[in-house]
Symmetry: C2
Subunit: 305 residues, 2 copies
């Protein structure tokens, strides 16, 4: 089944304890579609960039099978830019600079050819824009997955609360789950989020793995213990891309298949952090992914006698 992803396509400039980059390709939708490209074929992007965005990067997306018909290129405007600096523990970062540019009035246009997508990934952007995408689809997709962040919980909570009943799966990290619900225990936070609308909640815990809550059932996915995290940028989006990419490929939204999707998402995220930006997930083979997934299986498998 085909997938529709909306979100930012951007320039990032990153600084980590291991080095720094000039402007490189970034943005939630970039990571999501690249990650999903290893799973699903119909991989349709809706985003906006300025005329400073290089054709070579669009070619890169196309070479990964990403359909960029819905990538609007606004003449005379500039692409969204974010720069950030990670602290030594790699778990916290400061935003050094944000230039919203084209994102300031992103008005997502859905190409007619995208209208039948059954899987919708609402990558992190303003809830009002995410909602527009749902409203502009003629038929409701089979599964709508929403990502959001602390910024929107702070400044756009009413929009977000209005959006939650319209989606099937919310993907957030542990701090966002706590911020959204005021609950410290993640079990309780997930239950509160499910009352807000989404019947499935995924809480990402970074190096501690991820929890999937679905109709009273819980799955705990491990994270691969890594000796070194080179650059965490995009890991959450890459996780989401692997997750929905697997679901779209298999067209199966059962709890059992969502577990597998989380393992695939976790495997993809574990690659993402190995190099700056999207470099690693632009250059993966299916064999490498299968080998990594096998590591996850080994990592958490046990038998009771």
């Amino acid at each position: 089944m085909s997938l529709l992803t909306i979100g930012s396509v951007a320039f990032d400039a990153l600084e980590t304890p291991f080095g720094k980059t000039d402007k490189i390709i970034g943005g939630a939708a970039t990571y999501i579609t690249l990650s999903a490209s290893y799973f699903t074929e119909g991989n349709n992007l809706v985003a906006v960039v300025g005329d400073d965005f290089p054709q070579s990067m669009i070619d890169d997306l196309n070479q990964h099978g990403v359909n960029t018909e819905g990538l609007e290129i606004r003449q005379g405007e500039k692409t969204f830019f974010w720069s950030g600096k990670y602290h030594n523990d790699m778990n916290t970062r400061d935003t050094v600079e944000v230039q919203l540019n084209v994102m300031e009035n992103f008005d997502p246009v859905i190409p007619e050819s995208y209208q039948n997508c059954q899987y919708l990934m609402l990558g992190n952007t303003a809830p009002a824009i995410q909602r527009m995408v749902i409203e502009r689809l003629h038929t409701r997709p089979k599964l709508i997955v929403l990502d959001t962040m602390n910024l929107w919980i702070e400044i756009a909570r009413p929009d977000l609360m209005g959006l939650l009943p319209l989606v099937d799966v919310l993907v957030v990290n542990d701090e966002e789950a706590r911020q959204l619900t005021g609950q410290y225990a993640l079990v309780t936070a997930a239950a509160k989020i499910r009352e807000m609308g989404p019947k499935t909640v995924i809480i990402k815990k970074g190096e501690h793995g991820a929890l999937l809550f679905h109709e009273g059932q819980i799955f705990f996915a491990p994270a691969l213990p890594l000796a070194e995290v080179f650059d965490p940028t995009g890991a959450g989006d890459t996780f989401a891309g692997g997750f929905i990419g697997h679901l779209a490929k298999t067209d199966d939204v059962s709890f059992e298949n969502m577990k597998r999707a989380i393992i695939y998402g976790s495997a993809m995220a574990s690659f993402c952090v190995e190099k700056f930006g999207a470099e690693r997930i632009m250059n993966l083979t299916k064999d490498e992914i299968q080998a990594r997934v096998s590591e996850f299986v080994k990592l958490s498998a046990f038998g009771l006698e």
Copy 2:
């Protein structure tokens, strides 16, 4: 196979956001032997208390099959006492008061009937005392498991470094692993600890589960996501007791069986936090334990198609 446990048997006074206790039974060896009692039969305790320690508590231990022949009762002296207060997040606590009392010159005497124990659990106490126990055994046990804490890493590092080559398994939490090695990444910290002596390292991550490192292999055990932690006191010792109790019962120190042992330890720890002190692990049935272990199986099981 029979198990020998050394460590503190103590009085604790606890305060959590849910309430407070008067002096209740506590101490590492109490939790370890109670937890192990649900698994192994030969369950031998070496510890010291004062003459203020009530016979009824010794009777409780005996009723759980704990052999207290090695529990020295020192006349005219008082039992080790610790009181602590937990903060609202339940992850941090302050020590309110410590009275070392009999622990100040604990000189562990091994009864002759304990000499053939094949499993030795060195519960948290001064490394010099833990070492004495190894030296006082006529034959080396098949498996020696060591627990320690931040205090000993700070004030008795040379003793601890001398002890590490003598043990098979080190059990520490994530912060202790970092403090011991100076390494932030747990994979790297575990590798460094293995260079210090123990061929197996278990790193407990509290609500995030536990990692088992053994000869280049890694196992990630989930923690049961809990809506409420009533009192975390003794959870780590209860984990260790379930771990070594299962190993002693099955007399199998393979990686596969250690994985199972960690799941049993995690299940026992998940009970421990439900009530104050050791109350919950004093009153468990084997059916309750099996049901809890099944929850762990469900929590982390997935199949790739």
